[in-house]
Symmetry: C2
Subunit: 498 residues, 2 copies
């Protein structure tokens, strides 16, 4: 082997070892949210903290730094090798900003916050979550200083989930959308009333679970390389592209709850299963950004999963599971009911239009928290006030309000905007798909989503971090992120709901 080959091989071994630790940590987290008994919380928190600390130690070792510096000087690296090394060097420099004690503290604070959130959910009481969340936010503020930022402290965290994203850019995006979204909501609210009561009948948990499993299977999720379990809040994690774990939750009295969150997580899962196996542990084997990740989940959930064509194929299948509940409901009725635009409380169940107000509220609150304009104690009142203001709904309790999402308990501040970005990317990608796969609607109407999945595999999944979100968007669609695609998509949908 040449010197370069040797160095690259050492680099790969070291990165894969770090990945082994991080994915082990992910197994512990997955178990924590699916199967772990409650008394295990304290020891599990320590176990995860130890693994976090070890991963950090390996990620910042002098040996790794030396290998990376030498590799940066090599002239014979392939394109993908060079990209891996450059990104690993950036990651290395970032990891070096942290120290082991802080990493351990953060890991323990996250575990405690997650357990507190679970307890708070059970009691439907934010005050139970508040002390642990306050502690976590204090560390996240410290982390912003460690990472560094320009202009706004919150930018440090936004940048973690979507490289280059700033308060400035997001303020502009949300501002520009405000008027069109408002007008579209007026339009939507003047649509003929649609009876969607059949969606709230009793749908047995077991049948819903089986139905969801069938959907996942038929839409291309590889159950030899993944599985689905139940958790308090649906999520997707992975331990390699050959082991992707989806979770879902089921509400017996609300059919919409499970189905679209199941398809949403499927989109995440297909992305993870589509990452290159031979890039395990290397940047090009990791997802581009959370915005792109959410583009995959939102594309399957909405552009596909809330289309009439999709249900032309699937409604008859669904009726096999729930013949009584769906008796007399035709595709047109079903389509209009599942797309009913109506301000509501729960983000994951919101329609495609008002969804972005849910995101904006979380974004506003996070911005205020990191600007020290509000304390954690204030969250419920600000939350409820903003839901009243932006969505015109009265939040009755914390579970349908500020306790609904798991994200803050994970320390994921700056994450929520990626849901909107993901929806916008999805609309833009889907417009391109319609051009490049002219028969796609007909195919979907026949239950054939293979070509769509292949397109996503080739255009998005396989690239990993080879491109940034912006580069990838331009490569695929010929232009940067353009929210007009979303406006056009949602306007067209509203027209079909007449």
């Amino acid at each position: 082997m040449s010197i370069t080959d040797n160095l690259y091989s050492d680099y790969t071994s070291q990165l894969q070892k770090i990945a082994d630790i991080k994915y082990s940590l992910a197994v512990l987290q997955w178990d924590q949210e699916t199967y772990m008994p409650k008394k295990s919380a304290a020891s599990r928190a320590k176990q995860m903290a130890t693994l976090s600390e070890l991963a950090h130690k390996e990620s910042t070792s002098e040996a790794l730094g030396n290998i990376l510096q030498q590799l940066l000087e090599q002239q014979t690296l392939s394109t993908i090798q060079r990209k891996n090394v450059e990104l690993s060097w950036q990651d290395f420099l970032k990891q070096q900003k942290y120290n082991g004690v802080f990493v351990r503290q953060m890991s323990e604070a996250v575990s405690m916050a997650f357990n507190a959130w679970m307890d708070a959910r059970k009691q439907n009481d934010f005050t139970i979550f508040e002390p642990a969340l306050s502690k976590l936010v204090a560390l996240k503020k410290q982390e912003a200083d460690i990472l560094g930022y320009e202009e706004h402290v919150y930018n440090a965290h936004l940048n973690e989930y979507e490289k280059g994203m700033t308060v400035h850019l997001l303020d502009e995006i949300f501002k520009n959308l405000q008027q069109p979204l408002k007008e579209l909501l007026q339009q939507a609210l003047s649509l003929p009333t649609i009876d969607n009561g059949f969606l709230k009948l009793n749908y047995s948990k077991q049948s819903q679970l089986e139905w969801g499993m069938q959907l996942l299977k038929e839409l291309g999720f590889d159950f030899d390389a993944g599985r689905q379990d139940i958790s308090e809040h649906p999520f997707t994690t992975n331990f390699s592209s050959n082991d992707v774990r989806l979770t879902t939750r089921i509400d017996e009295h609300d059919f919409t709850n499970m189905t679209w969150s199941c398809i949403h997580e499927l989109g995440h899962g297909l992305y993870e299963q589509g990452l290159l196996e031979d890039q395990y542990g290397l940047p090009c084997g990791e997802y581009t950004s959370l915005g792109i990740h959410e583009s995959q989940s939102r594309l399957w959930e909405n552009n596909v999963g809330r289309s009439k064509t999709f249900w032309q194929h699937y409604l008859p299948k669904l009726k096999n599971y729930f013949p009584n509940q769906l008796n007399g409901v035709d595709v047109d009725h079903f389509y209009k009911a599942i797309n009913k635009i109506e301000p509501s409380f729960i983000r994951t169940e919101a329609d495609e239009l008002t969804y972005h107000s849910h995101v904006q509220i979380r974004y506003n609150i996070e911005k205020e928290i990191f600007s020290n304009n509000c304390t954690i104690k204030d969250i419920p009142s600000i939350w409820n006030e903003q839901y009243n203001q932006l969505l015109g709904v009265i939040v009755n309790n914390d579970n349908e309000g500020c306790l609904q999402d798991v994200h803050w308990s994970h320390g994921s501040f700056g994450y929520f905007p990626t849901y909107s970005l993901g929806s916008f990317y999805a609309a833009q990608f889907y417009a391109t798909i319609q051009k490049e796969l002219p028969n796609i609607n007909e195919e979907i109407a026949n239950g054939a989503t293979k070509n769509l999945l292949n397109w996503l595999r080739n255009k998005v999944h396989k690239h990993g971090r080879m491109y940034t979100s912006n580069e990838l968007c331009e490569l695929i669609t010929g232009e940067k992120l353009n929210t007009n695609y979303f406006i056009e998509y949602i306007s067209n949908k509203i027209k079909t709901l007449q």
Copy 2:
């Protein structure tokens, strides 16, 4: 804090960190045997190897060695502290014999062997398991040299599961038992024929599962500090005394399969839940030996779970689950049926008498393998021959023969004898229990097992590695392991089967 306190605190932190890694590894193993999708096998093997290597690295660090050496010289350690330090020093010296590369190799070989065993089970074909097992055995032979031994190479592995156990001692134990066991078998085979066909009717999986869960709950397993799942081969593992995982398997056409293996694992689980929480990661928070571990599982499975008093309480409850299958079966009939002594193929389902021939066969084969008197390829033929010779049964296929146990795929050579030792300890402990808790049979007949569990908690569980098996046995019963207790116990049982 004093110097001693400081040192002990550093020692505790370091040991707990090692425990965090080992228990994380156990989570990955548990997941591998319960929920992991099959394509994950290769990456999971690497992840586990990395954690093994890290645990080994931390277990052999110079820093730990220094702390231990200093602590050994301290005069003010409490009794439990001193015991912890002395045992940790022994562990440290043992771990130092290994190198990281070997630890990694062993971990990967075990993962490969486990996956090969799973495949072989599916195909009912030992040849699929054979190459991976050969590789693993080659490493286990190397390991014996690394660990060192006297007299017999197999002693190195026996000593791993039961300190001080040797081929010499086991040969003697099995030899002394041969005649009494043979005579008792003759007696048993001349008992009046009992119809146990009702045990092989159709027992639905779901009902069996629910029944097993009820048993676990009522017998004292804390489901806030553990759970039960399904696996190919039942096992118990733990990630702390607050997170103990049992697994079971269910055969719809054989009621005996699940119930007693469920009670067996319960015994293991209660032991782990009874270890001292404040000794997490320290020797006195770990089980004494595998022999003592099996004493707990076998005591619950047999001395309690196959007694007539136990079923006086539980048969009516069981009939709630299976009224048709158990229609007309009274306690006396049930008791005789579940204790029917009859040579058979499957160890985990064997009666209490012929069980030890199952163990002896595995012991004989392991001894031959490590003496290089037979190759892995020979296993099926030797197995089948010995089953014919010792038990008089004709093994028809590998799944009911040499593929039935998971242990070899884990590299657990020297483990099986602990099942017999455990049964013998159990009989001896149970004789003491009968004396110290004179009302225990009456209590069990009323479904009250709390006093029994408390006795085990105080006499066995809480001590961890404070005592060796022999010391513990003497402390509890006033004498060393004495197989006469078992012979007496089983003779008495046979009398009740008239």
